[in-house]
């Protein structure tokens, strides 16, 4: 990757990370306030208490997994080292 391409890729990754944050906030709202009126219990806890804690946590892990496998790419961080490799 050239320096220009790396920067474009880094920008892309930052943008997708921001988008993941946005999706997580929506999920968080839904899993907590959204479900708080519903009846039903899981292990003695109200449904919302489970989805808004462990649920949000698992969802965040899933999002990060998606980010790192679909959007993020490996690249050489050191330009000099890379230049040497190409020689």
């Amino acid at each position: 990757m050239s320096e220009y391409e790396k920067y474009q890729q880094i920008k892309r990754e930052a943008r997708w990370t921001g988008l993941a944050l946005f999706v997580l906030i929506l999920f968080w709202l839904l899993a907590g306030f959204g479900l708080s009126g519903l009846p039903g219990e899981v292990l003695g806890m109200p449904l919302w208490a489970v989805t808004s804690s462990v649920g949000v946590w698992f969802f965040a892990i899933l999002l990060v997994k998606l980010l790192t496998s679909l959007v993020f790419q490996d690249m050489e961080l050191d330009e000099e080292k890379e230049a040497k490799q190409h020689e």
Binding site: S2, S36, G44, A49, D74
Partner: protein, 500 residues
Amino acid sequence: MSNGNPAALLPLLAFMGIMVGIGIYVRRVQARGFASNFVQQYFIGNHDLSGFVLAMTTVATYSSVSSFVGGPGMAWQIGFGWIYMAVVQVTAIFLVLGIFGKRVAMLSRKFDAVTVVDIIRERFQSDALASMAAFIIVLFFCATMTAQFVGGAKLFAAVTGYSYEMGLLLFGLVVVAYTSIGGFRAVALTDTCCAVMMMIGIVLLLYYVLQAGGGYGSIMASIHANHPEMLEPLSAGHMPAGLYLTQWILVGICTIALPQSVVRGISYKDTKSLHHAMLIGTVVVGFMNIGINFTGILAHGVLTDSLQSYGGVDNIIPKTIVTAMPQALVGFAIIGPLAASISTISGLLIVAASAIIKDVYLHHQHQKGVVPTAGRLRLLSMSVTAVIGVVVFCIALTPPSLIWIINMFAFGGLETAFFWTLLLGLFWRRANKLGAILSMGGGTIAYCLTQGMGLKVMGLHQITIGITVSLLFFLLGAYLGKPQEPQVLAKFFPDKPEKM
């Protein structure tokens, strides 16, 4: 002193011994490498952290003693709404590493940067801005470190029965010692041990709280019967909706700009490590936040009286440990919270020392055309780290009220100062010197003033004011001031090559 519990001391002493051992070990291993580029080795560990260590050190520095004592105490009072709020912290690790991780790593290699301030100086070409940043870091970090010392020592005294001063001596001097001996690499490795101990501590405490409370079923049944509001997100008004919003900003989104987190982007080995760290960090930070606050809620099975009878939320966890844990295991139970405390102190201490050595001292020497010898740098770096540590330690012995005020400003103040300067500076070409200076200075002052005077907009925490004012100032400066010089921009924002 006489009513202390000696069984509580042994595990703690052993743990502290291991921490110092790591510091000395790192020092020995790196002794040869130290000669070539001491400052980089000492303050950033020479770009060789693995994904696991990167994740653990970022989480451990971020999770403070209050996440282990004050936080779960609040959960005891408020209920599941508190976990709902605390869980927003799962964003903290992947956001900072995902947005700044690679950007900072590449720029630091390009400019030989060791600190976040180095990068800010290169980007905005301003010594005034860099000095202001270094000053803000040292001031707020010292206040935060003091608070960590005090929190850890108070917990120690409450749980073991020994004196506050003895606790401070025991873990305070240890953290200062291993940080100054081993530098960043020792900080990263000890942080990793600390993070593991925090997780073990949570599991241990949870287990004994369940036992002492008569089992999960009966604790939950009692909460259903006696505290139904704990099962509501707003906890019958104890947990206002506005608090959720400001917590997202304060402990979620804006934490990406905390210099002690961003600097970790300079320290890792390769992009694979970074990707691993994002995943591991999210798993660990979620486990800790949910685990410890859940334990706080279940502590209702152990502490059944009113909050007043325990003397406030800060006493809930110490009381729970003493009541629920067998005497022989108390020493293990407090390693977790103390590990949270020392891992935050070490992370801040090394960054504060780097601000003084790299951003102030070395920069001035450089301007004068003087190159300090390696031996001199080694001596200076270690002594500055030790001196800051000892000064903070002494302040913690009898903390003046001013330090609490500065500490109250610290978290949000750092975020206000660095959020836009880093985010816009690294991703927006129009960001310029005037904007950054106005934003960092004006935003921080606005934040501290409004918080000091207790001014609020719509009842929201002052971070909302700070972050808004600092954005407006940044945009004002960006459009009024000159754009940054093209040769600077070319380094930060590479142009498309002519030939494809």
